[in-house]
């Protein structure tokens, strides 16, 4: 990423690997399984065991390492050396032979093409909004998706991010020197602060990140349409009625694309509903033949 934003972001992640963890925490594959949050398990359950997976912006690699436990081909790519170094150490420690790591800048199409493999599933969770050109990043990664392959895009929502932006402002002004309030805000997102490296990683990612953009459902639907990606669903749900239980149904369930009125209503709801998650949402789709 030759852009100014890209350089800043790369430098940031080299100094603060994300999501980060204390390596001593993972002594066996079982430890990795135990540490997985419910949504990581839901993803694992929703993706067939024989599918190949690419985790874009894998960072320190917990998710892709976890998904590789029961699969033959899982790749994790990132452009931060220190995050990848940590992931490599984990790979070596747990002897994860089916987990491949590579340094790639997704805004550079030549680096993307050099990978030379296409995947059944692409996960790009919480990455594009930090690239400086989210749409270009999206377009580039589609090169790596097989026809009929599935994709998940996680982004910050323009509406849903409002509470976190407010919290961010509070921590820079009124609560600048109040560590208790800062701890409370980060606990909202990760539950506990026992793993100090993880808590620090999250604080940096959410409150000190040098670049982030916010997006709307409509914007992502337009990206999908322009690039022949069939819309499946969003999490949190964008259907006007009660959503299905993702723990039972998994993800990538086909649903009707929401119209502008429903999108507006849902995103207003997300100001409250996704407040703890910093306005984060995931859109699921599938590449048409």
């Amino acid at each position: 990423m030759a852009t100014q934003v890209g350089n800043k972001v790369q430098q940031f992640y080299n100094q603060s690997p994300f999501p980060d963890y204390e390596l001593e925490k993972f002594n066996s594959k079982k430890d990795l399984e135990i540490a997985a949050y419910p949504f990581a398990r839901i993803l694992d359950k929703s993706i067939p065991k024989n599918a190949s997976i690419l985790d874009i912006g894998t960072g320190t690699g917990q998710l892709s390492a976890f998904l590789s436990l029961r699969r033959k081909c899982v790749w994790g790519i990132d452009f931060s050396d220190s995050s990848l170094n940590k992931a490599e150490k984990l790979k070596e420690k747990l002897n994860l032979g089916s987990w491949h790591l590579k340094k790639v800048d997704i805004l550079d199409i030549n680096q993307i093409k050099k990978i030379g493999v296409k995947f059944d599933y692409i996960l790009c969770l919480g990455v594009l909004h930090h690239t400086g050109d989210a749409y270009k990043g999206f377009k580039n990664i589609l090169e790596l998706l097989k026809p009929n392959g599935f994709i998940a895009i996680g982004l910050y929502n323009k509406f849903g991010r409002i509470p976190l932006k407010t919290r961010k402002l509070l921590t820079k002004t009124i609560f600048k020197n109040n560590q208790k309030v800062k701890d409370y805000f980060i606990r909202l997102q990760i539950g506990n602060l026992k793993d100090k490296e993880r808590a620090r990683g999250w604080w940096n990612d959410q409150y000190l990140h040098p670049h982030e953009t916010t997006h709307t459902i409509g914007e992502v639907l337009r990206w999908f349409k322009k690039n022949s990606i069939e819309y499946y669903e969003t999490i949190p749900s964008s259907v006007p009625y009660i959503q299905s239980d993702v723990e039972i149904c998994g993800v990538w369930n086909k649903s009707k694309s929401p119209n502008s009125l429903i999108r507006f209503y849902k995103q207003l709801k997300w100001i409250h509903q996704t407040s703890k998650e910093g306005g984060y949402w995931i859109t699921f789709g599938r590449k048409k033949c």
Binding site: I235, I242, H272, Q273
Partner: protein, 53 residues
């Protein structure tokens, strides 16, 4: 229900007579915030999706 109607009616008359149209966006915003608070509760069916580990 009749009371509710008269309340809304009175508010409308108040806005009309006093020409206090500047209050309208505030009332609309309060209604939207109210709707969000009532209907926007986090569903127990939604797991945490950002933190995966």
């Amino acid at each position: 229900m009749a009371n509710n109607k008269s309340l809304l009616g009175e508010m409308w008359s108040f806005l009309k007579v006093r020409k206090a149209w500047w209050l309208l966006p505030i009332i609309i915003m309060l209604l939207i915030v109210g709707i969000i608070i009532i209907f926007g509760q986090s569903s127990a069916l939604s797991p945490i999706i950002y933190a995966l580990f």
